[in-house]
């Protein structure tokens, strides 16, 4: 076993994800604790060029293959399994994403590596991998360890500011040939289905008023819409609101929705499940109103009010309008 810390690089449509830089940021801290190098694993169809942006890593290992081009985790898994087998790093970091979640468990079983999920913080202490995890919908913090290592970690989005993983540098870039036959991949990619266009593009809004389960019924949406109108903002939402079909999927912020970075993100009645926080945590200013003081949204918000949204939101809309007038 080496003492290296490996990080899986994730990219979509030729762009590195924020999650990648977050992992690099964490890796940057953990690698010295482990006493090894920070190695970025870059897999894809034509990805050599992306290596330049991975300055935070000491080494970039890249694998290029036609079959790695699509969103088929199984292909990634086969290549990664071979690679990790050969390199046997101390710790491998994967993002809690559509891709990462389809890899970690399988690698854990295939390589007989212990793994920890829902990681918010990571460290290597006395040779053990120690993670702080947000479990039970953010209602409990669990400190867990993999004694000795090696191990795998599924890291929650937002565990580390992405900027910490964006640094200049000149890592060694090495190509690795896959040691496995990708023809054996059983899952076949058929195509991408884009969300229907035509609605407001919430990723381009300066101000978002975002509404969650706390709004309780569709008929209450106008209360929040009024505030959005007063602020000149668009309305976005967390998953439950879209699942109820109160708003179209194009308004969903979070894991399976959009990632947004407005100047103001006003979260109304959103508890702040990790899947949601993933899509909005980088907003310039986050203000949260929720009646549940335990709601994890208050951990990510800059300002919070433990209050009933039906009380505060109309008052706030009024106050904003008065100011405008």
């Amino acid at each position: 076993m080496s003492q290296d810390v490996f990080v899986l690089v994730e990219h979509l449509k030729g762009q590195l994800t924020d999650g990648t830089f977050e992992l690099l940021g964490i890796g940057r801290e953990v690698a010295p604790q482990a006493g090894g190098r920070l190695v970025a694993l870059l897999l894809g169809r034509d990805v050599r060029g992306l290596a330049e942006q991975l300055g935070a890593a000491d080494v970039v290992l890249y694998v290029e293959d036609e079959r790695l081009g699509d969103s088929v985790p199984e292909a990634y898994r086969r290549v990664l399994a071979g690679l990790l087998q050969e390199q046997s790093p101390k710790l491998t970091l994967l993002p809690t994403s559509s891709l990462g979640m389809d890899l970690a468990g399988a690698l854990s079983v295939e390589l007989n590596l212990p793994m920890i999920a829902f990681c918010k913080q990571l460290a290597v202490q006395d040779g053990s991998i120690v993670a702080t995890c947000e479990l039970y919908g953010g209602r409990a913090v669990v400190e867990a360890e993999i004694p000795e290592g090696p191990g795998l970690a599924l890291v929650l989005p937002g565990a580390c500011p992405a900027d910490k993983g964006r640094s200049e540098g000149a890592p060694a870039v090495e190509e690795v040939k896959p040691s496995v036959d990708l023809a054996e991949v059983r899952v076949r990619f058929k195509g991408l289905i884009e969300p229907p266009p035509g609605d407001v593009d919430i990723t381009r809004q300066e101000i978002l008023v975002s509404v969650g389960r706390g709004v309780q019924r569709e008929e209450n949406l106008p209360i929040v819409q009024e505030l959005a109108d007063a602020l000149g903002a668009a309305l976005s939402s967390s998953r439950p609101v879209v699942d109820q079909q109160w708003l179209p999927p194009t308004r969903q912020v979070g894991k399976s929705g959009m990632t947004v970075k407005p100047r103001l993100y006003l979260a109304v009645g959103i508890s702040g499940a990790p899947e949601h926080v993933e899509g909005m945590r980088d907003s310039d200013l986050i203000v949260a109103i929720n009646s549940d003081a335990r709601a994890p949204i208050f951990n990510v918000a800059h300002y919070g009010a433990v209050a009933d949204l039906f009380e505060v939101v109309p008052k706030l809309a009024e106050a904003v309008k008065n100011r405008g007038a």
Partner: protein
């Protein structure tokens, strides 16, 4: 908005006056005869004058055939009703006979629409008297000669006047149907409504013509003193003689009219066995077999009996209804009165109580005979054209739109029990899983946590933390009153403030009371109303068990829905309790001096009767007694007491997505209250009402004009119990919807 109709007292006066007039007719006739004297002793007429002798036999033969024809008509319907399940409606004959006399013969449910009431009274009594007159004539002619002299003249006058009234009534009906055209008459059928009405007109007119021509030919000259006792006939006779018709011509005309009048009348009589006219018999039968208990005690009706056939719960086929329900769909005459106060109708729903009954009626008429035939042949096989009633024949959204407020039932002149259909239909939909997700989440929460707000049961008694005295745990120590708090009052922040006020007032009155804390579960009233019968049973069984472990004398609750379930529906599960609504307890405490108002309140208020307290359980006067004791000026809304207008939360609607496309019922209600003028407070006596109407006051923008207050709030104000500094009253929205967390 629909403007609230004026108070009904003036209407009642007109109906009473109409009755008095009708009753006066024979009396006046008799008086007149006495006044005029006795020299008319030989007055009388030849029955079937100018008509061939064989026609008499033809007439009697036709009458015999008619009896068979009518009997066959009822037999056909009876066969259809027999498709239904059994249900006992023949207990307590005395009470049933009384109902028949009051509501059948007495037309006791008329005062709704004044015009229609007078119209119907004229037609009804006109027809009754003409029918009796004809019968009397038959007896006179065939058995015993008695219609002579003054008796004959009085008879003649009375019949003429009632005939005229019937004519006026039919005329009013024609004007209403063709000129006034109220929307509730939209479901008119060509034969049963249009042709029938014109036929009645034709019968009356031709009858008068027959009479008039006969008078012209036989009385006008020979016995002019008699002719005036048939005033309408006399006028017609005059017209014919003035026109110069000779005896021969008059005889010909008379025969023509007679031969028109008699078949028309026979046709109408045959109609009694088939179409709309059957309501004379079916309406009476339905009134006779009506549910005698108040609406709330619906458990008496088979429609709300626990499900026994789990493979086939609720109403899918005609056979799943009871004979009584099937009979009811045949009774409906499409008068539309059930729609008048229906909140779903106003709310823009496709649901109308009349439409529901008519749809099933039409369906039964079409498919029922095939089912009867199939049953005769080979049992219960499905037949061509059969549809699932819940969800197909009656669309699911229509079934869910009902608020179960009971306003339709309170209006129906024949006591059709619309709600029994609703619950049966919903049971089917629940079984199939055809319910909105908000409702299914609520039901899941109810089965898991015992409350409709999906909160932990451990928090049920937390509202007591805001009190400066402890509230007994009646599971631990006995108390005279066991307060069954209910979900909304326990959990909903807006209602909790009222709940604490109730506790303070009880405490002030020195009442020995306690609550069950987390031992209490939702009473399940509306769970049953949405058709989740199994969950209702579960909740009832759990509550009955916990109640059985507590020592108390009387249960008190603020929630009319809980009140209804505990009072009327728990006994069937072995839970027999003395139960009162807090307004009843407050009235007693105020009247026996345990609560002494420190001052009279000078507010001008109106009071909203909660459906499940008033219509369902007949508690109308007690809350008004409380208000009277406080000294407030009570101004009644047009729709009060039995006509009270639903807040829109009933029947599980608090737990469903709002589907209304029109004005919310609660908003309509607030507008009604504001229209009274100068009413400061809209007083309610139900935890759901507080939030529903506070919401409506905001959305209608009447916050300056009117405020919603619970009745206990006023009691506390009058007592001047020190009220802790209040937080701003909870937003109604939060309360209206805090259930779907």
């Amino acid at each position: 908005m629909t403007v609230a109709p004026p108070a009904k007292s003036s209407k009642q006066a007109v109906v009473v006056a109409t009755y008095a007039t009708l009753a006066a007719v024979p009396i006046v006739a008799a008086a007149l005869i006495l006044a005029v004297g006795t020299d008319l002793g030989d007055a009388g007429r030849e029955v079937m004058w100018n008509i061939a002798e064989w026609a008499r036999f033809l007439l009697y033969a036709s009458a015999a055939v008619l009896v068979i024809v009518i009997a066959y008509g009822y037999y056909r319907r009876y066969e259809l009703w027999r498709l239904g399940k059994p249900e006992s409606r023949t207990d307590n004959w005395a009470e049933r006979l009384k109902a028949f006399l009051i509501y059948g013969i007495g037309q006791g449910r008329l005062p709704g629409d004044l015009y229609a009431s007078v119209m119907h009274l004229f037609i009804f009594w006109g027809w009754v008297v003409l029918f009796i007159g004809t019968a009397m004539l038959t007896i006179h002619d065939d058995f015993y000669h008695y219609l002579t002299g003054t008796t004959y003249l009085g008879y003649s006058l009375t019949l003429d006047i009632f005939g005229l009234l019937a004519l006026i009534g039919v005329g009013m009906a024609l004007v209403r149907r063709y000129l006034m055209r109220p929307p509730k008459l939209r479901l008119a059928s060509l034969w049963d409504d249009a042709v029938l009405l014109w036929l009645m007109l034709a019968i009356l007119v031709s009858g008068f013509l027959v009479e008039g021509v006969r008078i012209a030919a036989t009385e006008l000259e020979e016995n002019p003193d008699w002719a005036g006792w048939s005033p309408v006939g006399w006028v017609i006779a005059k017209v014919f003689t003035e026109a110069g018709a000779g005896t021969g011509l008059l005889q010909d005309i008379h025969q023509a009219f007679w031969w028109f009048h008699i078949p028309a009348a026979l046709a109408w009589i045959a109609w009694v066995g088939y179409g709309k006219v059957a309501h004379i018999v079916l309406g009476s039968a339905n009134i006779f077999t009506r549910r005698l208990s108040p609406t709330g005690a619906q458990i008496a009706s088979a429609a709300l009996q626990p499900i026994t056939d789990f493979k086939n719960p609720g109403v899918a086929r005609l056979q799943d209804l009871t004979w009584k329900q099937l009979m009811q769909v045949d009774v409906c005459v499409r008068c539309g009165r059930c729609e008048g106060d229906c909140p779903a109708d106003l709310n823009g729903s496709h649901l109308t109580p009349m439409g529901l009954i008519q749809d099933i009626h039409n369906y039964m008429s079409e498919v029922g005979p095939r089912l009867v035939a199939a049953q005769r042949k080979d049992g219960q096989e499905a037949v061509a054209g059969e549809r699932t009633i819940a969800g197909d024949l009656i669309p699911a959204d229509v079934i869910w739109d009902c608020f179960t407020c009971g306003a339709c039932e309170a209006q129906c002149p024949f006591f059709v029990e619309h709600l029994s259909f609703m619950v049966g239909l919903r049971r089917r939909l629940v079984d199939e899983g055809t319910l909105d997700t908000q409702l299914s989440d609520t039901l899941m929460g109810l089965s898991r946590y015992g409350n409709s707000l999906g909160q932990s049961e451990k928090l049920r008694g937390r509202w007591t933390e805001g009190l400066d005295f402890p509230v007994k745990d009646v599971r631990q120590e006995p108390a005279e009153y066991l307060w069954f708090v209910g979900d909304q009052a326990s959990y909903n922040p807006a209602a909790q403030e009222v709940t604490r006020a109730v506790a303070r007032v009880f405490n002030k009155a020195g009442l020995d009371f306690g609550i069950m804390y987390e031992g209490e579960k939702s009473a399940g009233n509306d769970v049953r109303r949405v058709g989740e019968e199994g969950l209702f049973e579960l909740l009832a069984e759990d509550n009955i068990q916990t109640l059985g472990e507590c020592q108390f004398q009387t249960i008190v609750t603020t929630d009319p829905h809980t009140f209804n379930a505990l009072k009327n529906e728990y006994p069937a599960y072995g839970g027999q309790y003395r139960i009162c609504h807090y307004t009843e307890l407050l009235a007693d405490l105020l009247e026996n001096g345990k609560l002494k108002p420190a001052r009279r309140l000078n507010h001008r208020v109106t009071y909203h009767d909660p459906c499940y307290l008033g219509r369902y359980n007949g508690v109308f006067d007690t809350p008004r007694r409380v208000l009277k004791a406080l000294g407030v000026e009570l101004v009644e809304m047009g729709r009060s007491r039995e006509r009270s207008y639903c807040c829109g939360a009933g029947g599980g609607h608090l737990w469903m997505q709002e589907t209304g496309r029109g004005e919310r019922p609660s908003e309509n209600r607030i507008r009604e209250a504001v229209a009274l003028g100068g009413v400061q407070y809209f007083v309610v006596a139900c935890p759901k009402d507080v939030s529903m109407f506070q919401d409506a006051v905001k959305t209608t923008g009447y916050e300056e004009e009117i405020a919603v207050r619970d009745i206990v709030d006023l009691v506390e104000e009058a007592l001047e119990v020190e009220v802790p500094e209040r937080e701003a009253t909870g937003s109604p929205r939060e309360s209206a919807s805090a259930m779907e967390v």
